[in-house]
């Protein structure tokens, strides 16, 4: 039986009827039409589907949309404001922290969480923080550089 949920998605409130088994990632992509968060492995390993729910980074393939009822959901589309990239987005661009770009939305969303909790992380802390996000192109070095650059910009 469908249930009504109300979610504030990137600052905009919306109400939808969903099946309880609908995963949050499918709600975001198929119901709300925001395709920035990606479906990679769909088994809570790759992190490409990472979004923030009430400020907490989650793998949205491993959460039901009904669990987000009444909450604020932030996706990669909600980061830029007035056409200006978020500091973390800019850092990924400047440091070439991506090649194909598939993992990038998840990488950026988890970076946001890492820096919110630890504004000046060491390289080891950055790598520990990125453990739940897989990239098959870059070898991670430029991603780590991007997180460092973003930290320097936001911590300054």
């Amino acid at each position: 039986m469908k249930r009504e949920i109300s979610v504030t998605l990137n600052g905009k409130p919306r109400t939808d009827e969903v099946e309880p088994r609908l995963l949050l990632i499918h709600y975001i992509r198929d119901v709300a039409g925001l395709t920035g968060a990606h479906v990679g492995c769909e088994t809570s390993i790759c992190g490409a589907c990472t979004v923030a729910v009430d400020g907490i980074a989650v793998k949205s393939c491993t959460m039901f949309a009904v669990q987000a009822d009444g909450k604020n959901v932030l996706t990669i589309e909600g980061l830029a404001s007035n056409g200006n990239l978020h500091t973390i987005q800019e850092a990924f661009w400047n440091e070439h922290g991506l090649q194909c770009g598939f993992c990038t939305p998840g990488m950026i969303m988890v970076t946001k969480q890492i820096l919110e909790r630890n504004p000046n992380p060491t390289e080891e802390e950055i790598r520990h923080g990125l453990e739940g996000n897989l990239c098959r192109c870059t070898g991670y070095q430029h991603i780590v550089n991007a997180v460092k650059t973003a930290a320097a910009k936001t911590g300054a």
Binding site: M1, R3, E19, P20, R21, L23, E42, T43, S44, I45, G47, T50, I56, A57, V58, K59, T62, M63, F64, V66, Q67, D69, V110, Q113, I114, R117, G129, E131, G132, N133
Partner: protein, 284 residues
């Protein structure tokens, strides 16, 4: 990967939740295990009772020599809690090794224990710490020791309709040295083997050793033979090696595509040696 169809409720009150569980509901905690197995259709509960909105199950507090963690306390809350870090550093260390940032944000101590995955991180520490679980159902409450709680692979002392409400953890002796060392399966983050060690020393001798092991056998266990071998010694490298070699005594090792039984047994000894060395060096 879509779960089978189910009814969903999200009570905010524990009593209400226990009533729904009594009539056959399946409890959903952080969902880090249940949701994947529902997606794989290894589980197809008809009614899922989401405990995520019961605020009264999420707390960490200290009372008379024990820490009390509500079952819905997340791994991130445990790893980042100043109280846990200072009063029970082993639990905080173990929590910081679980999965990844996103998993630690959602996964809960009660959910992890209740799922009783033989490769989960927490059970090694919960065994070494000799914790107790507070359980509740619609017909009442009871307290169960960790040794009685873990029964077998994915099997616990929980009865149908019963959930963990609280984990009761003894406050660590401030002079004790602790360590959790884990051989990680890099994709899943699960422990191929994980060893939690607690060491207390007095007058240059090891007076108390506690060793909890996960990943090796069908369930987490205390390596009591290893503990006994170390107690009373000075905790030298040779003493530790002797104790670590006994870590798998009496246990039938798991085998899977990541590690054969022989390899796993050997790794359990290696990681037991590492955990004991660090714990001994940290004990004052």
């Amino acid at each position: 990967m879509i779960a089978h169809i189910f009814e969903y409720s999200a009570p905010t009150d524990l009593k209400e939740a226990l009533g729904q569980l009594a009539s056959g509901g399946k409890p959903l905690a952080g969902g880090m295990s249940l949701i994947p197995i529902m997606k794989l259709r290894l589980a197809a509960p008809e009614h899922v009772v989401d405990l995520g909105r019961i605020v009264a199950l999420n707390y960490i507090r200290e009372e008379a020599g024990t820490l009390h963690a509500g079952a819905m306390t997340t791994h991130y809350q445990i790893e980042s809690s100043p109280l846990v870090r200072s009063r029970c550093p082993l639990l905080a260390e173990a929590a910081s090794h679980i999965g990844d940032v996103q998993v630690r944000n959602m996964g809960t101590i009660g959910g992890s224990a209740a799922h009783a995955d033989p490769a989960a991180d927490y059970p090694a520490s919960l065994m070494a710490l000799e914790v107790q679980f507070r359980l509740a159902s619609s017909s009442g409450e009871r307290t169960v020791s960790v040794e009685d709680f873990f029964v077998d692979t994915f099997a616990t002392a929980l009865q149908p309709g019963e959930i963990i409400t609280e984990v009761i953890i003894p406050v660590e002796d401030p002079s004790a040295g602790v360590s959790y060392q884990k051989m990680v399966q890099p994709a899943s983050g699960y422990a191929i083997v994980g060893v939690a060690a607690r060491i207390t020393k007095s007058g240059g001798k090891v007076t108390k050793a506690r060793v909890g092991v996960t990943g090796l056998g069908p369930k987490a266990f205390r390596a009591k033979a290893a503990e006994k071998l170390l107690e009373g010694t000075e905790g030298t490298a040779a003493d530790i090696a002797k104790a670590a070699a006994a870590v798998s005594e009496g246990v039938e090792s798991n085998t899977d595509l990541h590690a054969s039984a022989n390899y796993r047994t050997q790794m359990a000894r290696v990681y037991a040696g590492r955990a004991l060395s660090v714990a001994v060096s940290r004990a004052t």
